[in-house]
């Protein structure tokens, strides 16, 4: 594999083809924050917290470090006033959903993000998609997915699949960066009826189990 020379935060870095900026930075001990990145999963580039500044043929632009492939003579800045400012706002936007998530709080400290800047919308989910992608790519079960789009996008377990597959798996729980509660909460609802319980006759699309009073 051919060697690629580039510069990250002033350091000369020798990377190999196919590496991302994130990979290359790691080899010289430069840490770029990530939330949606996972080594076992396909690159996603959703959370954008790994945003870095690069200069391509003299033009500065913002790219996601976790997906941007290394190029010859690339100049990368993983911390700059602009990058820090963007990370700060992104964190504040995510903290509106998951104010108590430990990972977010640690990053908030680093970037001076105010957890109370935006009105709280505690859905707990920051749409990193780790649960969705893990279930699809590693487990190949597609028991959890995204529904709707834009501001209304949310994760949802597919009851027909989840009731069969999730019971003894739950491998997505520890992946959730905000709190495993979110996944567990939704999952628990969708897991009714339990595999050995009576099959419900309810055909509604929610996860109410068909017995009145068990839903909200």
């Amino acid at each position: 594999m051919s060697e690629i020379h580039l510069q990250i935060d002033g350091k000369e870095v020798v990377a190999s083809e196919g590496m991302t900026i994130l990979d290359a930075a790691k080899t010289v001990g430069i840490a770029i924050p990530t939330l949606c990145h996972h080594e076992k999963l396909e690159p996603y580039g959703g959370c954008r917290i790994c945003t870095v500044e690069v200069e391509v043929r003299g033009w500065p632009k913002l790219v996601a470090g976790c997906i941007y492939p290394v190029e010859k003579d690339l100049v990368v800045r993983t911390r700059s006033e602009k990058v820090d400012k963007i990370r700060k706002v992104l964190l504040e936007e995510m903290l509106a959903h998951a104010p108590d998530a430990e990972e977010l709080q640690a990053l908030a400290k680093e970037y001076g993000a105010d957890r109370d800047r935006f009105e709280k919308e505690p859905s707990f989910c920051i749409h990193c998609g780790l649960c969705v992608r893990y279930c699809a790519e590693i487990k190949k079960k597609h028991a959890v997915g995204f529904v709707d789009r834009g501001s209304n996008r949310e994760i949802s377990f597919i009851p027909e699949i989840a009731s069969k597959e999730c019971w003894d798996c739950k491998e997505c729980f520890p992946l959730c960066p905000t709190s495993a509660l979110q996944a567990a909460y939704v999952l628990a609802e969708s897991l009714i009826p339990q595999p050995d319980a009576e099959v419900s006759s309810c055909s509604c699309s929610c996860s109410c189990s068909g017995k009145s009073g068990t839903g909200e």
């Binding site: 959703g46 996601a64 997906i67 400012k85 706002v89 992104l90």
Partner: protein, 635 residues
């Protein structure tokens, strides 16, 4: 159906079709585009058929439904050939008169002609109408010459001769060279040079390549692509096959939104007709070149107009953008090199090959060659589709072609580029329409939506409107776009409802900056409506925030309606029409609006006779106290 197995056979077939057309035979063409159909064009066509039959003229006079000529404001549009008489806003009840007068006696039906509002002069022919006169309709003019469902009509005007020329007189490299020389830039929004995508794809080692038509036109108010694909589907197909030949692709897709049912029908019909004639499929025109094309219907997501999202959707997955650090021209649909161009771009390819790059570059500016079609909508006298050479000024489009602002109102801004574009104020109206100039002004060419706004439009509310659109149309994958739009919309909603506070404009700017880290161009450009209105109309933001005043008197929460007791003549019109029963009045009693009950629908304002003008809108100041009961009786 004869297969056209060589260029000679194509020319023979063309000659045969043309020989059967008698140029002196009267022909009644009715626009059968979506706009005119909505105003009753189908009934008009039916009425003509019945009327001609009644007069026994069916064999002597042709009738056809054509594509959209663009003057949608005045539809349904009827053209009578060979005299080229243009009748506007034709209704089925006008048809008998047209047949008896114009067809039989060669006399004009005066009341259906265009009247110039400035001079009062009547125009008989289309080319005399200022709306058309000030355009350069290289592409749109063909819409009017053909029945969009007839391949023979397209062949009669020279259709597929560009394809024949490309396949038999040019190498793929020469086709590429001609497109490069024309400097054709993508008409879908970004303005990326078409040849660069083509070249990248052609040079990619993967032998499986695709060419795609992007007909997922989703900008509010835009319908250029719709008119082209409905009106002249073969011209797009021809451009696509030429592109495939240049790139080395043997399969193509047309991604068209399902909300355009007529476009879907017409393009499918065109594909079938072209296949039957040997212009699609194996060994096209006997050249040895194979190409097939499939139509894919989009399910109504704005974001699927973005190239990588469109390709993801083509693969059968949820339409979400992917990072494009490796261009889709190299790794697109199913990871194969894929050239995606907009409908209008493909239509231009046909003309460039047919007439040459030198012909093409005589129109437009150095950086932006050719013509561009805009859909001119909003507060404008002549709503419709306009095609102008690049480089004309916005002022010319709005005033000369568009006929200015109706109702004596003042122009305020023009929004170009759809939800990703920006608002351009009066001071910038002499800006030439050019990819780079519009970007410099903080807007963008976009696909060609042009929304004109007058003094009654609140610029903060316009920004809010576009963000509200984007809130639902963002795919939601990346944080800056999903959350940035959510937060910006909240701030804008606060400002327009009187809850704005100091620092809100700065907060919007900060949120807009972070949106620059979004994954796709749609997200990155999402703050443009906000940034451009702040840039040019900052004082409106400040008035909303500081004085709780909407200068355009448009934001409901910030305005009140008041009846001036000195002007009210107790005519009772507003009293009777107020749907909220919020007006206290009676015979010879000055009317008063109960502010508690008022829903601010504006009915009283609209119905108060102009000679009284007693109802006024108030913003940023207290509503005068209602006059005491005892003083309400009029003398």
């Amino acid at each position: 159906m004869t297969m056209l197995s060589s260029p000679e056979k194509l020319e023979c077939a063309r000659k045969d079709i043309v020989s059967r057309i008698d140029p002196t035979k009267p022909c009644i063409s009715v626009c059968a585009g979506a706009g005119c159909l909505a105003s009753g064009a189908a009934e008009v066509i039916a009425a003509f058929k019945t009327e001609l039959e009644f007069h026994g003229l069916t064999t002597e006079v042709n009738t056809k439904g054509t594509g959209c000529p663009g003057f949608c404001e005045r539809g349904p549009i009827v053209m009578i050939y060979p005299e080229e008489i243009c009748y506007l806003r034709v209704k089925p009840e006008d048809v008998a008169e047209i047949v008896s007068h114009t067809i039989k006696e060669k006399k004009l039906v005066d009341r259906l002609l265009y009247v110039d509002p400035a001079t009062g002069e009547k125009a008989t022919r289309e080319s005399d109408i200022p709306f058309y006169k000030n355009q350069q309709r290289n592409i749109l003019s063909e819409n009017l010459r053909i029945d969009s469902k007839s391949i023979d009509d397209y062949l009669a005007i020279g259709g597929y001769s560009a394809l024949s020329k490309a396949l038999f007189q040019m190498s793929p490299e020469e086709v590429m060279g001609e497109v490069k020389k024309s400097n054709l830039r993508g008409r879908g929004g970004g303005g990326f040079p078409a040849w660069r995508k083509w070249e990248e794809s052609r040079n990619a080692p993967d032998p499986i390549k695709y060419v795609i038509v992007n007909a997922d036109e989703g900008d509010p108010g835009a319908f250029m692509d719709r008119a082209l694909i409905e009106g002249n589907p073969h011209s797009i197909l021809e451009g696509l096959i030429i592109g495939a030949y240049a790139v080395g692709a043997h399969e193509g897709f047309i991604y068209v939104r399902q909300e355009y049912p007529l476009a879907v029908i017409n393009i499918n019909l065109a594909i079938r007709q072209a296949g039957e004639r040997g212009l699609l499929g194996k060994n096209i025109l006997g050249s040895g070149f194979d190409f097939t094309v499939k139509v894919h219907m989009g399910a109504g997501a704005f974001v699927c107009g973005e190239s990588s999202a469109l390709m993801t959707a083509l693969e059968g997955r949820a339409g979400e953008p992917r990072p494009k650090y490796i261009h889709t021209a190299v790794k697109g649909v199913w990871d194969h090199p894929s050239v995606l161009n907009n409908v209008e771009t493909w239509a231009n390819v046909t003309q460039i090959i047919s007439k040459g790059a030198d012909w093409f570059t005589q129109f437009g500016t150095k950086g932006s060659t050719g013509t561009k079609i805009f859909s001119l909508v909003g507060k404008i006298t002549n709503t419709g589709l306009v095609e102008v050479p690049m480089g004309v000024t916005l002022r010319d489009i709005i005033e000369k072609v568009g006929g200015g602002i109706p109702g004596g109102k003042q122009f305020k801004a023009v929004q170009t580029g759809g939800p990703s574009g920006g608002c351009i104020p009066e001071a910038q109206l002499d800006l030439p329409v050019d990819f780079d100039e519009l970007t410099k002004a903080g807007s963008m060419m976009g696909s060609g939506g042009m929304i004109v706004m007058d003094e009654d439009t609140c610029m903060v509310d316009i920004a809010r409107y576009f963000l509200d659109f984007l809130k639902d149309e963002s795919c939601g994958k990346c944080t800056p776009c999903r959350e940035g739009i959510r937060q910006m919309l909240k701030v804008l909603t606060n400002i327009t409802t009187g809850k704005g506070k100091e620092g809100d404009v700065e907060l919007l700017e900060e949120l807009a900056e972070s949106t620059g880290a979004a994954l796709c161009a749609l997200g990155k450009s999402a703050p443009n409506p906000v940034l451009s209105t702040i840039r040019y109309f900052r004082e409106e933001y400040e008035a909303h925030i500081r004085q709780k005043k909407c200068p355009a008197l448009s934001c409901k929460e910030l305005i009140a309606f008041h009846i001036d007791p000195d002007k009210c003549k107790a005519c009772g019109t507003c009293f009777r029409q107020c749907p909220a029963e919020a007006i206290d009045g009676g015979k010879k009693r000055i009317h008063v609006i109960d502010q508690e009950k008022c829903t601010k629908c504006g009915t009283c304002f609209d119905v108060c006779p102009p000679r009284f003008g007693a109802v006024r809108k108030i913003s940023g100041e207290p509503v005068p106290a209602p006059i005491p009961e005892e003083q309400r009786a009029m003398a």
